[in-house]
Protein backbone atom coordinates (compact mmCIF):
# COMPACT_ATOMS: atom_id res chain seq x y z
CA UNK A 1 0.00 0.00 0.00
CA UNK A 2 1.30 3.42 -0.97
CA UNK A 3 0.94 6.43 1.28
CA UNK A 4 -0.14 8.65 -1.61
CA UNK A 5 -3.23 6.53 -2.21
CA UNK A 6 -4.74 7.16 1.22
CA UNK A 7 -7.30 9.74 2.40
CA UNK A 8 -6.99 12.68 4.83
CA UNK A 9 -8.75 10.78 7.62
CA UNK A 10 -6.72 7.58 7.11
CA UNK A 11 -3.44 9.50 7.04
CA UNK A 12 -4.46 11.67 10.01
CA UNK A 13 -4.60 8.49 12.10
CA UNK A 14 -1.19 7.30 10.88
CA UNK A 15 0.42 10.70 11.46
CA UNK A 16 -1.02 10.96 14.97
CA UNK A 17 0.20 7.46 15.85
CA UNK A 18 3.64 8.36 14.40
CA UNK A 19 3.41 5.41 11.99
CA UNK A 20 4.45 7.79 9.23
CA UNK A 21 5.83 11.30 9.09
CA UNK A 22 4.55 14.14 6.94
CA UNK A 23 7.98 14.20 5.26
CA UNK A 24 7.64 10.54 4.18
CA UNK A 25 4.09 11.20 3.03
CA UNK A 26 5.05 14.35 1.10
CA UNK A 27 7.97 12.56 -0.54
CA UNK A 28 5.62 9.74 -1.53
CA UNK A 29 3.23 12.23 -3.17
CA UNK A 30 6.06 14.11 -4.93
CA UNK A 31 7.42 10.81 -6.28
CA UNK A 32 3.95 9.89 -7.51
CA UNK A 33 3.73 13.23 -9.35
CA UNK A 34 7.19 12.68 -10.85
CA UNK A 35 6.14 9.22 -12.09
CA UNK A 36 2.81 10.20 -13.59
CA UNK A 37 2.61 13.89 -14.45
CA UNK A 38 4.42 13.66 -17.77
CA UNK A 39 1.39 11.70 -18.94
CA UNK A 40 -1.32 13.62 -17.08
CA UNK A 41 -0.17 17.27 -16.87
CA UNK A 42 -2.20 17.91 -13.73
CA UNK A 43 0.22 20.50 -12.40
CA UNK A 44 1.37 23.88 -13.68
CA UNK A 45 3.80 24.57 -10.83
CA UNK A 46 5.29 22.15 -8.33
CA UNK A 47 6.38 23.43 -4.89
CA UNK A 48 8.87 20.69 -4.04
CA UNK A 49 11.16 22.67 -1.73
CA UNK A 50 8.52 24.65 0.14
CA UNK A 51 6.39 21.50 0.46
CA UNK A 52 9.23 19.58 2.12
CA UNK A 53 9.91 22.54 4.42
CA UNK A 54 6.21 22.67 5.38
CA UNK A 55 6.24 18.89 5.97
CA UNK A 56 9.23 19.33 8.24
CA UNK A 57 7.39 22.00 10.26
CA UNK A 58 4.32 19.73 10.43
CA UNK A 59 6.47 16.88 11.73
CA UNK A 60 7.82 19.12 14.50
CA UNK A 61 4.23 20.02 15.45
CA UNK A 62 3.24 16.35 15.40
CA UNK A 63 6.20 15.44 17.62
CA UNK A 64 5.21 18.20 20.05
CA UNK A 65 1.81 16.46 20.45
CA UNK A 66 -0.01 19.78 20.72
CA UNK A 67 -3.64 20.24 19.69
CA UNK A 68 -4.09 20.28 15.91
CA UNK A 69 -6.67 19.80 13.20
CA UNK A 70 -7.06 16.99 10.66
CA UNK A 71 -5.00 18.68 7.93
CA UNK A 72 -1.69 18.85 9.77
CA UNK A 73 0.99 17.35 7.51
CA UNK A 74 -1.43 16.48 4.66
CA UNK A 75 -0.24 17.25 1.07
CA UNK A 76 -2.83 19.37 -0.73
CA UNK A 77 -2.92 20.72 -4.30
CA UNK A 78 -4.37 24.12 -5.19
CA UNK A 79 -5.97 25.11 -8.46
CA UNK A 80 -3.74 27.80 -9.97
CA UNK A 81 -6.48 30.38 -9.38
CA UNK A 82 -5.60 30.73 -5.68
CA UNK A 83 -3.18 33.54 -4.97
CA UNK A 84 -0.13 32.14 -3.14
CA UNK A 85 2.56 34.32 -1.63
CA UNK A 86 5.90 33.81 -3.36
CA UNK A 87 4.53 31.02 -5.59
CA UNK A 88 3.80 31.81 -9.24
CA UNK A 89 0.04 32.05 -9.84
CA UNK A 90 -0.98 32.01 -13.51
CA UNK A 91 -4.70 31.16 -13.78
CA UNK A 92 -3.37 29.13 -16.76
CA UNK A 93 -3.02 32.39 -18.70
CA UNK A 94 -0.05 33.86 -20.53
CA UNK A 95 -1.11 37.26 -19.19
CA UNK A 96 -0.18 36.09 -15.65
CA UNK A 97 2.68 33.83 -16.73
CA UNK A 98 5.21 35.63 -14.51
CA UNK A 99 2.90 36.76 -11.68
CA UNK A 100 4.26 36.04 -8.18
CA UNK A 101 1.64 37.23 -5.67
CA UNK A 102 2.80 39.27 -2.67
CA UNK A 103 0.10 37.73 -0.42
CA UNK A 104 -1.85 34.56 0.36
CA UNK A 105 -5.59 34.33 -0.26
CA UNK A 106 -7.77 33.58 2.78
CA UNK A 107 -8.26 29.86 2.07
CA UNK A 108 -4.53 29.44 1.47
CA UNK A 109 -3.82 31.20 4.76
CA UNK A 110 -6.31 28.90 6.51
CA UNK A 111 -4.73 25.78 5.01
CA UNK A 112 -1.26 26.93 6.03
CA UNK A 113 -2.43 27.69 9.58
CA UNK A 114 -3.93 24.21 9.81
CA UNK A 115 -0.51 22.79 8.88
CA UNK A 116 -1.39 21.47 5.43
CA UNK A 117 1.45 20.99 2.95
CA UNK A 118 0.96 22.81 -0.38
CA UNK A 119 2.44 20.50 -3.04
CA UNK A 120 1.66 22.53 -6.13
CA UNK A 121 -0.64 24.55 -8.33
CA UNK A 122 -2.88 22.59 -10.68
CA UNK A 123 -3.85 23.12 -14.29
CA UNK A 124 -7.19 24.60 -15.31
CA UNK A 125 -9.02 26.27 -18.17
CA UNK A 126 -7.63 29.78 -18.56
CA UNK A 127 -9.38 32.05 -16.00
CA UNK A 128 -11.63 29.05 -15.17
CA UNK A 129 -13.43 29.43 -18.49
CA UNK A 130 -14.10 26.00 -19.89
CA UNK A 131 -15.34 22.49 -19.19
CA UNK A 132 -12.37 20.41 -20.32
CA UNK A 133 -9.07 22.07 -19.22
CA UNK A 134 -8.24 22.31 -22.94
CA UNK A 135 -8.30 26.11 -22.63
CA UNK A 136 -5.15 26.14 -20.49
CA UNK A 137 -2.36 28.17 -22.09
CA UNK A 138 0.19 25.62 -20.88
CA UNK A 139 -0.98 22.03 -21.39
CA UNK A 140 -4.08 19.86 -21.68
CA UNK A 141 -4.60 17.73 -18.60
CA UNK A 142 -5.46 14.08 -19.32
CA UNK A 143 -8.14 12.04 -17.61
CA UNK A 144 -6.41 9.38 -15.43
CA UNK A 145 -9.10 6.82 -16.35
CA UNK A 146 -8.44 7.24 -20.06
CA UNK A 147 -5.71 9.58 -21.23
CA UNK A 148 -7.46 10.17 -24.58
CA UNK A 149 -10.25 11.89 -22.66
CA UNK A 150 -10.53 15.27 -20.95
CA UNK A 151 -10.62 15.47 -17.14
CA UNK A 152 -13.49 17.96 -17.32
CA UNK A 153 -13.04 21.56 -16.27
CA UNK A 154 -12.31 24.09 -15.34
CA UNK A 155 -10.71 22.53 -12.21
CA UNK A 156 -9.48 19.59 -14.35
CA UNK A 157 -5.95 19.56 -12.97
CA UNK A 158 -7.22 19.36 -9.40
CA UNK A 159 -9.66 16.56 -10.28
CA UNK A 160 -7.03 14.53 -12.16
CA UNK A 161 -4.49 15.04 -9.36
CA UNK A 162 -6.91 13.68 -6.73
CA UNK A 163 -8.03 10.76 -8.93
CA UNK A 164 -4.42 9.82 -9.78
CA UNK A 165 -3.21 10.12 -6.17
CA UNK A 166 -0.91 13.03 -7.07
CA UNK A 167 -2.13 14.75 -3.90
CA UNK A 168 -4.28 13.70 -0.95
CA UNK A 169 -6.93 16.35 -1.61
CA UNK A 170 -7.34 19.53 -3.57
CA UNK A 171 -9.19 22.82 -3.77
CA UNK A 172 -11.03 24.03 -6.84
CA UNK A 173 -13.43 26.81 -7.76
CA UNK A 174 -16.88 26.50 -9.27
CA UNK A 175 -18.62 29.25 -11.28
CA UNK A 176 -20.90 27.03 -13.38
CA UNK A 177 -19.82 23.50 -12.47
CA UNK A 178 -16.03 23.77 -12.47
CA UNK A 179 -15.63 21.65 -9.31
CA UNK A 180 -18.50 19.20 -9.85
CA UNK A 181 -18.20 18.38 -13.57
CA UNK A 182 -14.45 17.47 -13.43
CA UNK A 183 -15.10 15.58 -10.18
CA UNK A 184 -17.71 13.52 -12.04
CA UNK A 185 -15.39 13.01 -15.03
CA UNK A 186 -12.53 11.82 -12.78
CA UNK A 187 -14.56 9.79 -10.26
CA UNK A 188 -13.92 11.86 -7.14
CA UNK A 189 -15.99 13.85 -4.63
CA UNK A 190 -16.32 17.60 -5.25
CA UNK A 191 -18.43 20.16 -3.43
CA UNK A 192 -19.46 23.67 -4.41
CA UNK A 193 -20.56 25.26 -1.13
CA UNK A 194 -23.31 27.85 -0.71
CA UNK A 195 -22.35 31.21 -2.24
CA UNK A 196 -20.63 33.12 0.59
CA UNK A 197 -19.79 30.02 2.67
CA UNK A 198 -16.09 30.25 1.75
CA UNK A 199 -14.12 33.47 1.31
CA UNK A 200 -13.18 34.50 -2.23
CA UNK A 201 -10.43 36.86 -1.06
CA UNK A 202 -7.30 35.97 -3.00
CA UNK A 203 -9.17 33.91 -5.59
CA UNK A 204 -8.70 35.34 -9.08
CA UNK A 205 -12.17 36.53 -10.11
CA UNK A 206 -14.13 35.17 -13.08
CA UNK A 207 -17.80 35.98 -12.32
CA UNK A 208 -18.01 37.42 -8.83
CA UNK A 209 -21.70 36.72 -8.14
CA UNK A 210 -21.23 33.04 -9.05
CA UNK A 211 -17.64 32.03 -8.08
CA UNK A 212 -17.24 29.78 -5.04
CA UNK A 213 -14.31 27.79 -3.58
CA UNK A 214 -14.69 24.13 -2.61
CA UNK A 215 -13.01 20.84 -1.72
CA UNK A 216 -12.15 18.05 -4.20
CA UNK A 217 -11.41 14.80 -2.37
CA UNK A 218 -11.18 11.02 -2.49
CA UNK A 219 -14.22 10.45 -0.29
CA UNK A 220 -17.08 12.21 1.51
CA UNK A 221 -15.40 12.28 4.93
CA UNK A 222 -12.40 14.12 3.48
CA UNK A 223 -14.80 16.54 1.78
CA UNK A 224 -16.40 17.37 5.14
CA UNK A 225 -13.00 17.80 6.82
CA UNK A 226 -11.64 20.08 4.12
CA UNK A 227 -14.82 22.18 3.95
CA UNK A 228 -14.70 22.71 7.70
CA UNK A 229 -11.12 23.96 7.39
CA UNK A 230 -11.83 26.58 4.71
CA UNK A 231 -15.39 27.75 5.50
CA UNK A 232 -16.32 30.86 7.44
CA UNK A 233 -16.74 34.61 7.45
CA UNK A 234 -13.90 36.77 6.20
CA UNK A 235 -13.90 40.55 6.64
CA UNK A 236 -11.82 40.76 3.44
CA UNK A 237 -14.73 39.32 1.39
CA UNK A 238 -17.83 41.45 1.89
CA UNK A 239 -19.99 38.72 0.29
CA UNK A 240 -18.85 36.01 2.70
CA UNK A 241 -21.59 35.04 5.16
CA UNK A 242 -21.21 35.88 8.83
CA UNK A 243 -22.73 32.67 10.19
CA UNK A 244 -21.18 29.90 12.32
CA UNK A 245 -19.49 26.94 10.62
CA UNK A 246 -20.97 23.60 11.71
CA UNK A 247 -18.82 20.57 12.38
CA UNK A 248 -19.43 18.90 9.02
CA UNK A 249 -17.35 15.82 9.88
CA UNK A 250 -19.19 15.23 13.18
CA UNK A 251 -22.56 15.79 11.43
CA UNK A 252 -21.71 12.98 8.98
CA UNK A 253 -22.40 10.44 11.68
CA UNK A 254 -26.07 11.41 11.77
CA UNK A 255 -28.17 8.96 9.75
CA UNK A 256 -30.14 10.67 6.97
CA UNK A 257 -33.28 8.58 7.69
CA UNK A 258 -36.59 10.33 7.14
CA UNK A 259 -35.12 12.79 4.67
CA UNK A 260 -36.84 13.52 1.39
CA UNK A 261 -34.93 13.45 -1.87
CA UNK A 262 -36.46 15.34 -4.79
CA UNK A 263 -35.88 14.13 -8.34
CA UNK A 264 -36.30 17.00 -10.82
CA UNK A 265 -37.84 15.57 -13.98
CA UNK A 266 -36.11 18.22 -16.17
CA UNK A 267 -32.73 16.59 -15.39
CA UNK A 268 -33.62 13.17 -16.83
CA UNK A 269 -34.12 14.03 -20.46
CA UNK A 270 -33.52 12.51 -23.90
CA UNK A 271 -30.02 13.30 -25.07
CA UNK A 272 -28.37 12.33 -21.79
CA UNK A 273 -26.04 9.31 -22.06
CA UNK A 274 -28.25 6.27 -21.22
CA UNK A 275 -25.63 4.78 -18.88
CA UNK A 276 -25.53 8.02 -16.88
CA UNK A 277 -29.31 8.07 -16.57
CA UNK A 278 -29.39 4.42 -15.50
CA UNK A 279 -26.56 4.75 -13.00
CA UNK A 280 -28.07 7.79 -11.26
CA UNK A 281 -31.50 6.12 -11.08
CA UNK A 282 -29.87 3.07 -9.48
CA UNK A 283 -28.13 5.32 -6.97
CA UNK A 284 -31.51 6.83 -6.07
CA UNK A 285 -32.78 3.29 -5.41
CA UNK A 286 -29.82 2.70 -3.08
CA UNK A 287 -30.79 5.84 -1.14
CA UNK A 288 -34.43 4.74 -1.04
CA UNK A 289 -33.45 1.37 0.44
CA UNK A 290 -31.56 3.23 3.15
CA UNK A 291 -34.76 4.87 4.38
CA UNK A 292 -34.82 8.05 2.32
CA UNK A 293 -38.11 9.03 0.75
CA UNK A 294 -38.02 9.84 -2.98
CA UNK A 295 -40.39 12.42 -4.49
CA UNK A 296 -40.61 13.71 -8.04
CA UNK A 297 -40.41 17.49 -8.36
CA UNK A 298 -40.13 20.04 -11.16
CA UNK A 299 -37.72 22.88 -11.88
CA UNK A 300 -39.62 24.33 -14.85
CA UNK A 301 -37.07 26.98 -15.88
CA UNK A 302 -34.12 24.57 -16.16
CA UNK A 303 -33.83 24.93 -19.95
CA UNK A 304 -33.24 28.69 -19.58
CA UNK A 305 -30.30 28.30 -17.19
CA UNK A 306 -27.53 27.87 -19.78
CA UNK A 307 -28.40 30.97 -21.84
CA UNK A 308 -28.99 33.09 -18.70
CA UNK A 309 -25.73 31.89 -17.18
CA UNK A 310 -23.58 32.59 -20.22
CA UNK A 311 -24.90 36.16 -20.35
CA UNK A 312 -24.39 36.87 -16.64
CA UNK A 313 -21.05 35.06 -16.31
CA UNK A 314 -19.53 36.66 -19.41
CA UNK A 315 -20.82 40.11 -18.46
CA UNK A 316 -19.18 39.85 -15.04
CA UNK A 317 -16.03 38.38 -16.59
CA UNK A 318 -15.68 41.19 -19.11
CA UNK A 319 -15.67 43.63 -16.21
CA UNK A 320 -13.38 41.56 -13.94
CA UNK A 321 -10.83 40.97 -16.70
CA UNK A 322 -10.61 44.65 -17.59
CA UNK A 323 -7.88 44.88 -14.92
CA UNK A 324 -5.42 42.97 -17.13
CA UNK A 325 -3.96 45.95 -18.93
CA UNK A 326 -0.23 45.24 -18.72
CA UNK A 327 0.49 48.17 -16.41
CA UNK A 328 1.18 47.05 -12.82
CA UNK A 329 1.73 43.29 -13.08
CA UNK A 330 1.56 40.46 -15.58
CA UNK A 331 2.45 40.49 -19.24
CA UNK A 332 2.96 43.76 -21.15
CA UNK A 333 3.28 43.88 -24.93
CA UNK A 334 5.32 46.93 -25.91
CA UNK A 335 3.53 49.17 -28.44
CA UNK A 336 3.57 52.73 -29.82
CA UNK A 337 1.10 54.30 -27.38
CA UNK A 338 -1.02 53.55 -24.32
CA UNK A 339 -4.14 52.28 -26.13
CA UNK A 340 -2.08 50.03 -28.39
CA UNK A 341 -0.20 48.72 -25.33
CA UNK A 342 -3.52 47.75 -23.71
CA UNK A 343 -4.84 46.17 -26.90
CA UNK A 344 -1.67 44.27 -27.89
CA UNK A 345 -1.15 43.08 -24.30
CA UNK A 346 -4.66 41.63 -24.20
CA UNK A 347 -4.49 40.29 -27.76
CA UNK A 348 -1.33 38.31 -26.98
CA UNK A 349 -2.01 37.64 -23.28
CA UNK A 350 -5.49 36.08 -23.49
CA UNK A 351 -6.40 32.81 -25.22
CA UNK A 352 -9.32 32.38 -27.68
CA UNK A 353 -12.03 31.28 -25.20
CA UNK A 354 -11.27 34.10 -22.78
CA UNK A 355 -11.43 36.63 -25.61
CA UNK A 356 -14.68 35.09 -26.85
CA UNK A 357 -16.24 35.48 -23.41
CA UNK A 358 -14.97 39.03 -22.96
CA UNK A 359 -16.55 39.82 -26.34
CA UNK A 360 -19.88 38.19 -25.39
CA UNK A 361 -19.96 39.95 -22.02
CA UNK A 362 -18.98 43.33 -23.44
CA UNK A 363 -21.66 42.96 -26.11
CA UNK A 364 -24.32 41.98 -23.54
CA UNK A 365 -23.50 45.06 -21.46
CA UNK A 366 -23.07 47.49 -24.33
CA UNK A 367 -25.40 50.34 -25.10
CA UNK A 368 -28.57 49.15 -26.83
CA UNK A 369 -28.19 45.50 -25.77
CA UNK A 370 -28.11 45.74 -21.97
CA UNK A 371 -31.86 45.31 -21.52
CA UNK A 372 -32.28 42.62 -24.16
CA UNK A 373 -29.50 40.44 -22.76
CA UNK A 374 -28.14 41.30 -19.30
CA UNK A 375 -31.33 42.55 -17.66
CA UNK A 376 -33.35 39.74 -19.21
CA UNK A 377 -30.86 37.16 -17.91
CA UNK A 378 -31.07 38.63 -14.40
CA UNK A 379 -34.85 38.30 -14.47
CA UNK A 380 -34.55 34.68 -15.56
CA UNK A 381 -32.05 34.18 -12.75
CA UNK A 382 -34.81 35.19 -10.31
CA UNK A 383 -37.18 32.61 -11.85
CA UNK A 384 -34.55 29.87 -11.57
CA UNK A 385 -33.95 30.67 -7.91
CA UNK A 386 -37.72 30.65 -7.30
CA UNK A 387 -37.94 27.15 -8.85
CA UNK A 388 -35.50 25.87 -6.24
CA UNK A 389 -37.24 27.73 -3.36
CA UNK A 390 -40.48 26.01 -4.31
CA UNK A 391 -38.85 22.58 -4.79
CA UNK A 392 -37.30 22.76 -1.33
CA UNK A 393 -40.78 23.17 0.18
CA UNK A 394 -41.28 19.52 -0.79
CA UNK A 395 -37.87 17.94 -0.12
CA UNK A 396 -34.54 18.32 1.68
CA UNK A 397 -32.10 17.66 -1.16
CA UNK A 398 -32.28 17.10 -4.91
CA UNK A 399 -30.48 14.32 -6.77
CA UNK A 400 -29.54 14.65 -10.45
CA UNK A 401 -26.78 13.55 -12.82
CA UNK A 402 -23.76 15.90 -12.52
CA UNK A 403 -23.14 15.99 -16.27
CA UNK A 404 -25.09 14.68 -19.27
CA UNK A 405 -22.19 12.44 -20.38
CA UNK A 406 -19.01 10.91 -19.01
CA UNK A 407 -15.64 12.42 -20.00
CA UNK A 408 -15.46 13.22 -23.72
CA UNK A 409 -12.49 12.86 -26.06
CA UNK A 410 -9.80 15.52 -26.20
CA UNK A 411 -10.60 17.81 -29.15
CA UNK A 412 -14.19 16.58 -29.46
CA UNK A 413 -15.85 19.88 -28.51
CA UNK A 414 -13.16 22.52 -29.04
CA UNK A 415 -14.47 23.60 -32.45
CA UNK A 416 -17.99 24.28 -31.18
CA UNK A 417 -18.10 26.58 -28.11
CA UNK A 418 -21.87 26.15 -27.69
CA UNK A 419 -21.54 22.35 -27.41
CA UNK A 420 -18.88 22.87 -24.75
CA UNK A 421 -21.19 25.27 -22.85
CA UNK A 422 -23.89 22.57 -22.78
CA UNK A 423 -21.58 20.29 -20.73
CA UNK A 424 -22.62 22.48 -17.78
CA UNK A 425 -26.34 22.04 -18.32
CA UNK A 426 -26.96 20.29 -14.94
CA UNK A 427 -24.56 22.30 -12.79
CA UNK A 428 -25.05 25.98 -13.60
CA UNK A 429 -28.55 26.46 -12.14
CA UNK A 430 -27.17 26.03 -8.62
CA UNK A 431 -24.58 28.78 -9.19
CA UNK A 432 -27.32 31.12 -10.40
CA UNK A 433 -29.32 30.26 -7.25
CA UNK A 434 -26.25 30.30 -4.94
CA UNK A 435 -26.99 26.79 -3.64
CA UNK A 436 -24.55 24.14 -2.36
CA UNK A 437 -24.14 21.03 -4.52
CA UNK A 438 -21.86 18.01 -4.46
CA UNK A 439 -20.82 15.46 -7.07
CA UNK A 440 -19.86 11.93 -6.10
CA UNK A 441 -19.05 8.81 -8.10
CA UNK A 442 -22.00 6.46 -8.65
CA UNK A 443 -20.77 4.05 -11.34
CA UNK A 444 -18.89 3.59 -14.60
CA UNK A 445 -19.91 3.49 -18.24
CA UNK A 446 -19.06 0.64 -20.63
CA UNK A 447 -15.68 2.30 -21.45
CA UNK A 448 -14.77 2.34 -17.77
CA UNK A 449 -15.25 6.09 -17.33
CA UNK A 450 -16.69 7.34 -14.03
CA UNK A 451 -20.26 8.64 -13.71
CA UNK A 452 -21.14 11.35 -11.20
CA UNK A 453 -24.35 12.09 -9.37
CA UNK A 454 -25.15 15.51 -8.00
CA UNK A 455 -26.78 16.25 -4.65
CA UNK A 456 -28.13 19.81 -4.36
CA UNK A 457 -29.06 21.27 -0.97
CA UNK A 458 -30.78 24.23 0.64
CA UNK A 459 -28.71 27.36 1.31
CA UNK A 460 -26.06 26.67 3.99
CA UNK A 461 -27.23 23.07 4.36
CA UNK A 462 -24.02 21.39 3.26
CA UNK A 463 -24.41 19.05 6.27
CA UNK A 464 -27.48 17.31 4.84
CA UNK A 465 -25.85 16.96 1.41
CA UNK A 466 -22.79 15.37 3.01
CA UNK A 467 -24.95 13.02 5.10
CA UNK A 468 -26.83 11.76 2.05
CA UNK A 469 -23.55 11.39 0.12
CA UNK A 470 -21.99 9.51 3.04
CA UNK A 471 -25.00 7.16 3.29
CA UNK A 472 -24.64 6.34 -0.41
CA UNK A 473 -20.88 5.91 -0.16
CA UNK A 474 -21.21 3.52 2.76
CA UNK A 475 -23.78 1.43 0.90
CA UNK A 476 -21.50 1.00 -2.13
CA UNK A 477 -17.80 0.71 -2.89
CA UNK A 478 -17.65 2.76 -6.08
CA UNK A 479 -15.34 5.41 -4.62
CA UNK A 480 -12.72 2.75 -3.84
CA UNK A 481 -11.90 1.88 -7.44
CA UNK A 482 -8.78 3.61 -8.76
CA UNK A 483 -7.57 4.29 -12.29
CA UNK A 484 -4.64 2.19 -13.51
CA UNK A 485 -1.72 4.33 -14.51
Amino acid sequence: MNLYSLTIHELGEKLRRKEVSSTELTESVLKRIEDTDERLHSYITLCRESALAEANTADARLRANGPHGPLLGIPIALKDIFVTQGIRTTCASRILDNFVPPYDGTVVKKLKQSGAVIVGKTNMDEFAMGSSTENSSFATTRNPWNTDCVPGGSSGGSAAAVAADQCIASLGTDTGGSIRQPSACCGIVGLKPTYGRVSRFGVIAFASSLDQVGPMTKDVTDCALLLEAIAGFDPSDSTSLNVPVPSYAADLKKAPKGLRVGIPREYFIPGIQPEVDKSVREAIQVLAKGGIEVVEISLPHTEYAVPAYYIIATAEASSNLARYDGMKYGYRHPAVDLTQTYTKTREHGFGPEVKRRIMLGTYALSSGYYEAYYLKAQKVRRLIKKDFDEAFQKCDVLVTPTAPTTAFKIGEKTADPLQMYLSDIFTISTNLAGLPALSLPCGFDSRGLPIGMQIIGKPLDESTILQVACAYEQATDRHKKKPEL
Partner: protein
Amino acid sequence: MAITKQDVRHVAELARLEFTPEEEDRLTEQLDKILRYMEKLNGLDTEAVEPLAHVGDIVNAFREDRVTNQAAMEPLLANAPDREGNLIKVPKIIE
Protein backbone atom coordinates in the same frame (compact mmCIF):
# COMPACT_ATOMS: atom_id res chain seq x y z
CA MET B 1 -27.79 37.60 -37.95
CA ALA B 2 -27.76 38.50 -34.26
CA ILE B 3 -24.35 40.12 -34.63
CA THR B 4 -22.47 41.55 -37.62
CA LYS B 5 -18.77 41.93 -38.35
CA GLN B 6 -19.14 45.68 -37.71
CA ASP B 7 -20.57 44.90 -34.25
CA VAL B 8 -17.65 42.58 -33.56
CA ARG B 9 -15.16 45.33 -34.48
CA HIS B 10 -16.99 47.86 -32.31
CA VAL B 11 -17.18 45.50 -29.28
CA ALA B 12 -13.52 44.54 -29.72
CA GLU B 13 -12.60 48.21 -29.52
CA LEU B 14 -14.67 48.64 -26.34
CA ALA B 15 -12.96 45.58 -24.79
CA ARG B 16 -9.47 46.64 -25.92
CA LEU B 17 -9.05 43.54 -28.06
CA GLU B 18 -7.91 43.10 -31.64
CA PHE B 19 -8.50 40.28 -34.12
CA THR B 20 -7.13 39.32 -37.51
CA PRO B 21 -9.65 39.34 -40.41
CA GLU B 22 -9.85 35.51 -40.26
CA GLU B 23 -10.44 35.59 -36.50
CA GLU B 24 -13.11 38.27 -37.01
CA ASP B 25 -14.97 36.03 -39.46
CA ARG B 26 -14.85 33.00 -37.21
CA LEU B 27 -15.77 35.00 -34.12
CA THR B 28 -18.75 36.65 -35.84
CA GLU B 29 -20.05 33.22 -36.81
CA GLN B 30 -19.49 31.73 -33.33
CA LEU B 31 -20.95 34.70 -31.43
CA ASP B 32 -23.93 34.75 -33.76
CA LYS B 33 -24.67 31.12 -33.00
CA ILE B 34 -24.29 31.65 -29.24
CA LEU B 35 -26.39 34.83 -29.21
CA ARG B 36 -29.15 33.17 -31.20
CA TYR B 37 -29.16 30.36 -28.64
CA MET B 38 -29.46 33.01 -25.90
CA GLU B 39 -32.50 34.48 -27.65
CA LYS B 40 -34.31 31.45 -26.26
CA LEU B 41 -34.84 33.65 -23.20
CA ASN B 42 -37.19 35.86 -25.23
CA GLY B 43 -39.70 33.03 -25.10
CA LEU B 44 -40.22 33.74 -21.40
CA ASP B 45 -42.51 36.50 -20.20
CA THR B 46 -40.52 38.36 -17.55
CA GLU B 47 -42.52 41.60 -17.56
CA ALA B 48 -43.39 41.37 -13.84
CA VAL B 49 -40.12 39.78 -12.66
CA GLU B 50 -37.58 41.75 -10.64
CA PRO B 51 -34.00 41.23 -11.86
CA LEU B 52 -31.68 39.30 -9.52
CA ALA B 53 -28.09 40.53 -9.60
CA HIS B 54 -26.87 38.64 -6.57
CA VAL B 55 -28.26 35.92 -4.29
CA GLY B 56 -26.97 37.44 -1.05
CA ASP B 57 -28.51 40.33 0.84
CA ILE B 58 -25.76 42.73 -0.05
CA VAL B 59 -25.28 45.68 2.26
CA ASN B 60 -22.45 48.15 2.29
CA ALA B 61 -19.56 46.65 4.22
CA PHE B 62 -18.14 49.69 5.95
CA ARG B 63 -14.84 49.45 7.72
CA GLU B 64 -12.32 51.79 9.18
CA ASP B 65 -9.80 53.14 6.75
CA ARG B 66 -6.70 51.79 8.35
CA VAL B 67 -3.71 49.86 7.09
CA THR B 68 -3.92 46.16 7.97
CA ASN B 69 -1.38 44.58 5.64
CA GLN B 70 2.35 44.82 6.04
CA ALA B 71 4.25 46.97 3.64
CA ALA B 72 5.60 44.75 0.86
CA MET B 73 6.88 47.19 -1.72
CA GLU B 74 9.57 45.00 -3.25
CA PRO B 75 7.37 41.92 -3.96
CA LEU B 76 4.78 44.27 -5.48
CA LEU B 77 7.28 46.11 -7.64
CA ALA B 78 8.91 42.84 -8.67
CA ASN B 79 5.71 42.09 -10.62
CA ALA B 80 5.80 45.35 -12.56
CA PRO B 81 6.48 44.89 -16.29
CA ASP B 82 8.76 47.92 -16.16
CA ARG B 83 10.09 50.01 -13.29
CA GLU B 84 12.41 52.83 -12.41
CA GLY B 85 13.62 52.65 -8.83
CA ASN B 86 10.55 52.37 -6.64
CA LEU B 87 8.17 53.47 -9.38
CA ILE B 88 6.19 51.47 -11.96
CA LYS B 89 7.02 52.71 -15.42
CA VAL B 90 4.06 53.03 -17.85
CA PRO B 91 3.65 54.35 -21.40
CA LYS B 92 3.21 58.11 -21.80
CA ILE B 93 -0.41 59.13 -21.14
CA ILE B 94 -0.44 62.91 -21.63
CA GLU B 95 0.91 64.32 -24.89
